[in-house]
């Protein structure tokens, strides 16, 4: 018979320092995302020594970096909204369509009429005042987000199906609003949203910062973040623990719609027109990629807002880099896909496990009392 060894006291648990704020927001697995961004930047520096050069013209900052940041603003905002949706184990593929609708509403309300004045050029004419235009565009976007939310939370429709409906019809709605034309915007104050500067910095970045601040505050300073994660992990258990799963699910789709609406304003302001056909086309794919690159899993649960912002930045840097490198437009999408593929592979569980098992000695030691 085997001897009966005396039971020793279990080893004292190792003291684990609480994760820092930055780490908890950006997440733990952003090594490859950051590495990709660094690589892209190094490549750009190698091919273009002035990549980091920032000059001041007319009191505004100019340079490649500023340009990339400015251009990535819409995607960053959409990615943040989508992060919340994905955290609930949902998906919203209608964001591109809502971008088009938002821009179309704004352009249609401004009027799209060029009014010449004297010899100096155009007059700033709009049918409705700016605040009304913005409120209406955002209101419509919010309504479409709520529409998604109702279909999914009240009717129990699968998120991909529910938002697929809007992906198709939404673009139709945008074209109805623009009468199938591209509406050019001649109202200069509207240009400020996507092209303006405040304190020398592109105004769109202030919008990104504001959206990020509001969402971070809502999710990390209230219990909303915890509830969203709980729903994404196990909606039934979350409900039994008292989480208002339906209300919160509804709300995240509404917020996602609103974010897409804000992005739509920036996009239409940036190109000074609204194009029901092409505005925000395939944005949903870039946004999903940004969220995933940022470390939020499509299976829901833990989410990383600033990770998604980082993901959006990577995608925009990549796009700009590809253009700057003179890659033929028809190859662009393939190159983009390839880079995303590599980063996703590196982030996959299998590869992570391989990297972990490469250092088994260290782990075993960590378990020894």
């Amino acid at each position: 018979m085997m001897p009966v060894p005396p039971t020793p006291e279990p080893p004292p648990p190792p003291v684990v320092p609480p994760p820092g704020l930055v780490r908890s927001i950006i997440g733990r697995d952003h090594f490859w995302a950051l590495a990709t961004l660094s690589l892209l930047i190094i490549y750009n520096l190698a091919t273009n020594p002035h990549f980091f050069a920032i000059s001041i013209q007319d009191g505004h900052l100019y340079g490649s970096i500023i340009d990339i940041l400015n251009r990535s603003a819409p995607l960053m905002i959409i990615a943040m909204g989508l992060t919340l949706v994905i955290a609930t184990h949902g998906i919203d593929i209608s964001v591109g369509a809502v971008v088009a609708i938002s821009g179309a509403v704004a352009a249609a309300m401004i009027g799209g009429e060029l009014v010449m004045s004297g010899g100096t050029g155009m007059d700033d004419v709009t049918r409705f005042s700016m605040p009304v235009v913005i409120a209406a565009a955002l209101g419509v976007s919010l309504l479409f987000g709520m529409w998604n939310g109702v279909l999914i939370s009240s009717f129990g429709m699968q998120p991909i199906i529910a938002t697929l409906i809007l992906l198709g019809t939404g673009r139709g709605v945008a074209q109805l609003i623009t009468n199938g034309q591209i509406i050019t915007i001649y109202y200069r104050p509207y240009y400020a949203i996507g092209n303006g500067f405040l304190l020398g910095v592109p105004f769109s970045l202030f919008i990104v910062a504001a959206v990020a601040a509001v969402i971070l505050l809502l999710t990390r300073k209230t219990a909303l973040g915890l509830f969203i994660e709980a729903i994404g992990i196990n909606p039934l258990a979350a409900r039994l623990a008292g989480v208002r799963a339906r209300t919160i699910t509804f709300a995240v789709y509404a917020v996602c719609g609103l974010c897409a609406g804000i992005a739509g304003l920036i996009v239409s302001s940036n190109v000074k027109s609204a194009d029901g056909n092409n505005a925000g086309l395939l944005f949903e794919l870039d946004a999903i990629l940004a969220v995933v690159l940022g470390g939020t899993a499509l299976t829901g649960g833990r989410f990383f807002l600033l990770g998604s912002v980082l993901g959006a930045l990577i995608i925009q840097t990549l796009t700009t880099t590809i253009y700057a490198a003179g890659v033929a437009p028809e190859v662009t999408l393939v190159v983009k896909g390839l880079v995303v593929f590599i980063v996703s592979i590196l982030q996959s569980d299998k590869i992570k496990a391989m990297i972990h098992s490469a250092a088994p000695a260290r782990r075993a030691q960590g378990g020894t009392p």
């Binding site: 018979m1 085997m2 001897p3 009966v4 060894p5 039971t7 279990p10 080893p11 648990p13 190792p14 003291v15 684990v16 609480p18 994760p19 300073k221 209230t222 219990a223 909303l224 915890l226 509830f227 994660e229 709980a230 992990i233 196990n234 039934l236 258990a237 979350a238 409900r239 039994l240 623990a241 008292g242 989480v243 208002r244 649960g301 833990r302 782990r363 075993a364 960590g366 378990g367 020894t368 009392p369």
Partner: protein
């Protein structure tokens, strides 16, 4: 007495997980043609040992010998090629495929390009016949009860992969909690299959929380505690009590605090019941339920599977909306339309299906504990991190939850510890009444007693408890009053000290009390 040469020997198996020593120098051996039960509480290291055996986990030290040969399986597939097959607790099959497909797909034998369906079906029928199962193998697996699905899983485990046409004989079958979702007669069926396999010389490693079953089917026990080997014993030499003492490691009497002997709480009509249901019910669920629960009273809900125990809990907690009858909390009529309503009114509920309805697997212990309290407070009255840590720490200590720290995902804990976390979730809300649906299911004996003792202590402090259990012992031991359900209706109620097994069974069976 000399034992035959063991099929399997594990020597000095040691495994560390971050912060926990899961196994330290454990020896284990398995003889041909024996049923050997691995016994121990949750967290004793049973599953880790099985994972080492099946190659899911690589040990940090130690040796595995199969027929005296050193082996190092790198995964379940490789273990299977060596003749070590496993059937896990939950059936890991594709229930939408046919029985034959489930048994044989991916198992080779279909060497040509196309699958030879006729041959496949013939083989499946033959394999199941060996287990004395005779069913239509073309029907989807989902159309059969869980017990049959389990047999199909065993049949699949026995048909090892063929390589170059040579079938590999299964030498060793691991059955990890195979009976946890089976009814009594289904367990009998499983046991007859196990005996057949045993007669064929297959060594069987059996793991079950049910002591009776382990005693019935096993030849030998190996007992683990806290990752250490306690010893190996022939079943005949061990009494039930001996085994429990070895598993738990302290002299616990199998009789925990017995409420039934007290009469005060059972009979004294309280001034205002915490919960009073009058004719409460929902069409298609439990109907016409009358129930009064006084503060400090424990109500045991007895009844067979499907008698409406879970439905009663769901109705009281607002998961299912009642469509008739009334519910009063402390004398005030209420109408719950969601669990949150019930929580706000001071109720808590531990569901039977811990994994799917209870735990939030990827969230930390801390988050799992504070979430109900946070819901009760509302979204904007957020608990500070310091306060969360304090709550989590205090309950981890109070309930003796075994975890390296409060920020470990709850999924890393053993079943008993998960249940303690769920109990902590509700205790943190300071409930007036706690509803527990099968609180001790799938939990080892030590944790069972700890959990019920904690619940009873709270009950003595004025919390009302409604709990259901399929173990009559528990109902009789812990109830001030016993409520009996049959066919989704209440058919009897009596004071705990009046109740005995026979009376309750009589009511369940339809006789008058």
């Amino acid at each position: 007495m000399t034992d035959p040469a063991p099929v399997l020997e594990m020597r000095g198996i040691t495994k560390y997980f971050p912060g926990v020593r899961a196994l330290s120098a454990v020896d284990f051996r398995l003889l041909p043609g024996e049923v050997h039960s691995l016994m121990g509480q949750n967290g004793a290291g049973k599953s880790t040992l099985v994972k080492v055996l099946t190659g899911v986990v690589t040990p940090d030290a130690g040796q595995l010998l199969l027929d005296g040969q050193d082996i190092r399986p790198q995964g379940p597939l490789e273990a299977q090629r060596l003749g070590i097959s496993t059937v896990f607790q939950e059936v890991n099959l594709c229930t939408n495929l046919s029985v034959a497909e489930n048994i044989l797909l991916g198992r080779g034998g279909t060497s040509t390009v196309a699958i030879r369906w006729r041959e496949l079906r013939r083989q499946a029928v033959a394999l199941l016949a060996e287990l004395n199962i005779h069913i239509d193998v073309t029907a989807p697996l989902a159309s059969y009860p869980l017990a049959i699905q389990q047999m199909v899983a065993i049949a699949r485990a026995l048909t090892s992969e063929t390589r170059g046409g040579n079938a590999i004989r299964t030498r060793l079958l691991v059955l990890d909690e195979p009976t946890s979702s089976l009814a009594d007669d289904e367990v009998k069926m499983l046991f007859s299959v196990i005996r057949r396999l045993k007669a064929q010389g297959i060594a069987i490693l059996f793991i079950s929380h049910f002591l009776d079953q382990a005693f019935e089917i096993s030849d030998r026990f190996t007992v683990l505690r806290n990752g250490q080997l306690v010893g190996e014993y022939p079943v005949a030499q061990l009494s039930r009590m001996d085994l429990i003492v070895k598993m738990v490691g302290k002299e616990i009497a199998e009789t925990a605090p017995d409420r039934a002997s007290r009469t005060a709480a059972a009979d004294a009509p309280a001034a205002v019941p915490v919960v009073q249901a009058r004719g409460l019910g929902k069409t298609g669920s439990v109907t016409g339920l009358d129930l009064a629960v006084a503060p400090g009273q424990a109500i045991g809900v007895a009844g067979l599977l499907g008698s409406g125990r879970t439905e009663t809990a769901r109705l009281l907690f607002g998961i299912d909306k009642a469509d008739h009858g009334t519910l009063e909390i402390e004398g005030k009529p209420v109408r719950f339309s969601s669990p949150l309503d019930a929580i706000v009114h001071g109720m808590g509920f531990c569901p039977e299906d811990r994994k799917h309805e209870g735990i939030l697997a990827e969230l930390s212990i801390r988050e799992n504990i504070i979430i109900a309290l946070q819901c009760k407070r509302g979204i904007f009255r957020s608990l500070s991190r310091a306060r969360q840590d304090e709550i989590a720490r205090s309950y981890i200590k109070l309930l003796g939850i075994k975890a390296p720290d409060a920020d470990v995902p709850i999924s890393k804990l053993s079943g008993g510890n998960q249940q303690k976390v769920l109990l902590a979730r509700w205790l943190a809300t300071d409930p007036k009444m706690l509803i527990l649906d099968e609180p001790t299911r799938g939990i080892d004996v030590g944790a069972k007693i700890e959990i019920m003792a904690e619940v009873m202590a709270l009950c003595d402090n004025g919390m009302a408890v409604v709990f259901s259990s399929s173990e009559m012992d528990e109902i009789l031991r812990y109830s001030d009053r016993v409520v009996v359900l049959r066919d989704r209706a209440k058919v009897g109620e009596m004071a705990g000290h009046d109740a005995d097994e026979q009376k309750v069974f009589q009511i369940i069976a339809g006789g008058s009390p």
